[in-house]
Amino acid sequence: MTARVIELTDAPIDIDRVRSAVNDDGFGAILIFEGVGRNHFEGRPVVALEYEAYADMAVPEMARIADEVEQKWQGKLSMIHRTGRVEIGEPSVVIAVGTPHRGACYEASRYAIDELKKRVPVWKKEVYADGSAWKANAPA
Protein backbone atom coordinates (compact mmCIF):
# COMPACT_ATOMS: atom_id res chain seq x y z
CA MET A 1 0.00 0.00 0.00
CA THR A 2 1.39 3.39 -0.98
CA ALA A 3 0.21 6.56 0.69
CA ARG A 4 -1.97 9.01 -1.19
CA VAL A 5 -0.11 12.00 -2.62
CA ILE A 6 -1.95 15.35 -2.41
CA GLU A 7 0.42 18.29 -2.77
CA LEU A 8 1.21 21.73 -4.05
CA THR A 9 4.75 22.25 -5.26
CA ASP A 10 6.80 25.02 -6.83
CA ALA A 11 9.10 22.43 -8.46
CA PRO A 12 8.47 20.34 -11.61
CA ILE A 13 5.95 17.57 -10.85
CA ASP A 14 7.32 14.04 -10.40
CA ILE A 15 4.73 12.20 -12.51
CA ASP A 16 6.01 8.73 -11.57
CA ARG A 17 5.44 9.55 -7.91
CA VAL A 18 1.81 10.55 -8.56
CA ARG A 19 1.33 7.37 -10.64
CA SER A 20 2.94 5.05 -8.07
CA ALA A 21 0.67 6.34 -5.34
CA VAL A 22 -2.41 4.79 -6.98
CA ASN A 23 -0.88 1.34 -7.58
CA ASP A 24 -3.19 -1.43 -6.43
CA ASP A 25 -3.26 -5.07 -7.51
CA GLY A 26 -7.04 -4.87 -7.55
CA PHE A 27 -7.08 -2.17 -10.23
CA GLY A 28 -7.53 -2.88 -13.92
CA ALA A 29 -7.18 0.74 -15.05
CA ILE A 30 -4.99 3.72 -14.25
CA LEU A 31 -5.25 7.08 -15.97
CA ILE A 32 -2.85 9.98 -15.66
CA PHE A 33 -4.28 13.41 -16.48
CA GLU A 34 -1.85 16.25 -17.10
CA GLY A 35 -3.00 19.84 -17.37
CA VAL A 36 -0.30 21.46 -19.49
CA GLY A 37 0.81 25.03 -20.10
CA ARG A 38 -0.55 26.08 -23.50
CA ASN A 39 1.18 28.60 -25.74
CA HIS A 40 -1.87 30.59 -26.84
CA PHE A 41 -5.14 32.07 -25.60
CA GLU A 42 -7.67 33.37 -28.13
CA GLY A 43 -4.93 33.90 -30.68
CA ARG A 44 -2.57 35.67 -28.32
CA PRO A 45 0.81 34.00 -27.68
CA VAL A 46 1.35 32.93 -24.05
CA VAL A 47 4.98 32.65 -22.94
CA ALA A 48 4.47 31.14 -19.45
CA LEU A 49 1.93 30.65 -16.67
CA GLU A 50 2.13 31.69 -13.03
CA TYR A 51 0.07 29.90 -10.40
CA GLU A 52 -0.67 30.77 -6.81
CA ALA A 53 -2.73 28.94 -4.22
CA TYR A 54 -4.40 29.40 -0.85
CA ALA A 55 -2.50 26.34 0.36
CA ASP A 56 -4.31 25.91 3.68
CA MET A 57 -7.61 25.62 1.80
CA ALA A 58 -6.41 24.07 -1.45
CA VAL A 59 -4.76 20.95 -0.04
CA PRO A 60 -7.75 19.93 2.12
CA GLU A 61 -10.09 20.55 -0.84
CA MET A 62 -7.91 18.37 -3.09
CA ALA A 63 -8.05 15.66 -0.42
CA ARG A 64 -11.85 15.90 -0.33
CA ILE A 65 -11.97 15.31 -4.09
CA ALA A 66 -9.77 12.24 -3.60
CA ASP A 67 -12.13 11.01 -0.85
CA GLU A 68 -15.11 11.47 -3.18
CA VAL A 69 -13.43 9.47 -5.95
CA GLU A 70 -12.60 6.69 -3.54
CA GLN A 71 -16.16 6.50 -2.29
CA LYS A 72 -17.96 6.90 -5.60
CA TRP A 73 -15.77 4.73 -7.86
CA GLN A 74 -13.93 2.50 -5.36
CA GLY A 75 -10.73 4.00 -6.77
CA LYS A 76 -7.62 5.82 -5.62
CA LEU A 77 -6.61 9.32 -6.59
CA SER A 78 -3.40 11.27 -6.17
CA MET A 79 -2.63 14.73 -7.47
CA ILE A 80 0.00 17.43 -7.41
CA HIS A 81 -0.63 21.01 -8.53
CA ARG A 82 2.09 23.51 -9.33
CA THR A 83 2.55 26.94 -7.91
CA GLY A 84 4.88 29.57 -9.29
CA ARG A 85 6.04 29.83 -12.89
CA VAL A 86 5.09 26.99 -15.25
CA GLU A 87 6.70 26.89 -18.68
CA ILE A 88 4.80 26.10 -21.87
CA GLY A 89 4.50 22.31 -22.30
CA GLU A 90 5.11 21.66 -18.61
CA PRO A 91 2.33 20.12 -16.49
CA SER A 92 0.62 22.51 -14.09
CA VAL A 93 -1.34 19.64 -12.55
CA VAL A 94 -1.04 15.86 -12.62
CA ILE A 95 -3.90 13.65 -11.46
CA ALA A 96 -3.56 9.85 -11.30
CA VAL A 97 -6.67 7.74 -10.82
CA GLY A 98 -6.84 3.99 -10.45
CA THR A 99 -10.06 1.94 -10.42
CA PRO A 100 -11.05 -1.72 -10.79
CA HIS A 101 -12.47 -1.13 -14.34
CA ARG A 102 -11.78 1.37 -17.12
CA GLY A 103 -15.22 3.00 -17.37
CA ALA A 104 -15.07 4.21 -13.81
CA CYS A 105 -11.51 5.40 -14.36
CA TYR A 106 -12.46 7.77 -17.20
CA GLU A 107 -15.42 9.12 -15.21
CA ALA A 108 -13.37 9.62 -12.06
CA SER A 109 -10.50 11.31 -13.89
CA ARG A 110 -12.86 13.77 -15.56
CA TYR A 111 -14.68 14.39 -12.29
CA ALA A 112 -11.43 15.15 -10.47
CA ILE A 113 -10.13 17.79 -12.88
CA ASP A 114 -13.58 19.42 -13.24
CA GLU A 115 -14.04 19.63 -9.48
CA LEU A 116 -10.49 20.90 -9.00
CA LYS A 117 -11.17 23.75 -11.41
CA LYS A 118 -14.43 24.64 -9.63
CA ARG A 119 -13.46 24.22 -5.99
CA VAL A 120 -9.73 24.36 -5.29
CA PRO A 121 -8.46 27.89 -4.55
CA VAL A 122 -5.70 28.20 -7.15
CA TRP A 123 -5.21 31.11 -9.56
CA LYS A 124 -3.51 31.31 -12.93
CA LYS A 125 -1.87 34.25 -14.60
CA GLU A 126 -1.05 34.10 -18.28
CA VAL A 127 2.19 35.85 -19.14
CA TYR A 128 2.40 37.38 -22.63
CA ALA A 129 5.35 38.95 -24.40
CA ASP A 130 3.87 42.36 -23.53
CA GLY A 131 1.93 41.91 -20.31
CA SER A 132 -0.09 39.44 -18.27
CA ALA A 133 -3.65 38.65 -17.10
CA TRP A 134 -5.36 36.57 -14.41
CA LYS A 135 -7.52 33.92 -16.09
CA ALA A 136 -10.63 32.41 -14.54
CA ASN A 137 -11.71 28.87 -15.40
CA ALA A 138 -14.57 28.49 -17.86
CA PRO A 139 -17.48 26.24 -16.85
CA ALA A 140 -16.79 22.60 -17.77
Binding site: Y54, D56, M57, A58, W123, K124, A136, N137
Partner: protein, 78 residues
Amino acid sequence: MAIKVLYFAKLRELRGRSEEELQIEPGTTLQQLYQQLFPPGPEGAIPVAYTRNRRVSQGAEAIEDGDEISFLPPLGGG
Protein backbone atom coordinates in the same frame (compact mmCIF):
# COMPACT_ATOMS: atom_id res chain seq x y z
CA MET B 1 -10.65 43.61 17.24
CA ALA B 2 -7.72 42.08 15.37
CA ILE B 3 -8.03 39.86 12.32
CA LYS B 4 -5.75 38.46 9.65
CA VAL B 5 -6.59 38.96 5.98
CA LEU B 6 -5.02 37.01 3.11
CA TYR B 7 -4.92 38.28 -0.48
CA PHE B 8 -4.49 36.27 -3.67
CA ALA B 9 -4.04 36.88 -7.38
CA LYS B 10 -5.55 40.18 -8.59
CA LEU B 11 -6.50 41.26 -5.06
CA ARG B 12 -2.94 40.65 -3.82
CA GLU B 13 -1.64 42.87 -6.58
CA LEU B 14 -4.21 45.60 -5.89
CA ARG B 15 -3.47 45.54 -2.16
CA GLY B 16 0.30 45.28 -2.69
CA ARG B 17 0.75 42.51 -0.10
CA SER B 18 -0.22 38.90 0.45
CA GLU B 19 -1.46 39.24 4.03
CA GLU B 20 -1.90 41.70 6.87
CA GLU B 21 -3.29 42.13 10.36
CA LEU B 22 -6.18 44.59 10.54
CA GLN B 23 -8.16 46.22 13.35
CA ILE B 24 -11.88 46.28 12.55
CA GLU B 25 -15.12 47.25 14.27
CA PRO B 26 -17.01 44.40 15.96
CA GLY B 27 -20.02 43.35 13.87
CA THR B 28 -18.33 44.03 10.53
CA THR B 29 -19.47 41.49 7.95
CA LEU B 30 -17.33 39.82 5.32
CA GLN B 31 -19.03 41.75 2.55
CA GLN B 32 -18.60 45.08 4.38
CA LEU B 33 -14.89 44.45 4.91
CA TYR B 34 -14.46 43.55 1.25
CA GLN B 35 -16.19 46.75 0.15
CA GLN B 36 -14.02 48.81 2.52
CA LEU B 37 -10.79 47.24 1.30
CA PHE B 38 -11.70 47.10 -2.38
CA PRO B 39 -14.13 49.88 -3.31
CA PRO B 40 -15.65 49.12 -6.73
CA GLY B 41 -13.78 50.83 -9.57
CA PRO B 42 -15.21 52.01 -12.89
CA GLU B 43 -15.51 48.38 -14.00
CA GLY B 44 -17.38 47.40 -10.82
CA ALA B 45 -16.30 45.10 -8.02
CA ILE B 46 -14.29 41.93 -8.62
CA PRO B 47 -16.64 39.05 -7.77
CA VAL B 48 -15.34 37.01 -4.84
CA ALA B 49 -16.17 34.08 -2.60
CA TYR B 50 -15.75 34.98 1.07
CA THR B 51 -13.83 32.74 3.42
CA ARG B 52 -13.67 32.80 7.19
CA ASN B 53 -11.18 30.52 8.91
CA ARG B 54 -10.61 28.61 5.68
CA ARG B 55 -14.26 27.87 4.96
CA VAL B 56 -16.36 29.45 2.24
CA SER B 57 -18.87 31.69 4.04
CA GLN B 58 -21.79 34.02 3.33
CA GLY B 59 -20.99 37.71 2.86
CA ALA B 60 -23.52 38.61 5.58
CA GLU B 61 -21.59 36.63 8.18
CA ALA B 62 -20.04 38.74 10.95
CA ILE B 63 -16.28 38.59 11.45
CA GLU B 64 -15.03 37.58 14.89
CA ASP B 65 -11.89 38.48 16.79
CA GLY B 66 -8.87 36.47 15.60
CA ASP B 67 -10.50 35.31 12.35
CA GLU B 68 -8.50 34.51 9.23
CA ILE B 69 -10.38 36.12 6.34
CA SER B 70 -9.87 35.94 2.62
CA PHE B 71 -11.67 36.95 -0.56
CA LEU B 72 -11.29 34.49 -3.42
CA PRO B 73 -11.44 35.95 -6.92
CA PRO B 74 -12.62 33.60 -9.71
CA LEU B 75 -10.51 30.41 -9.60
CA GLY B 76 -8.02 29.43 -12.28
CA GLY B 77 -6.54 26.11 -11.19
CA GLY B 78 -5.88 23.13 -13.41
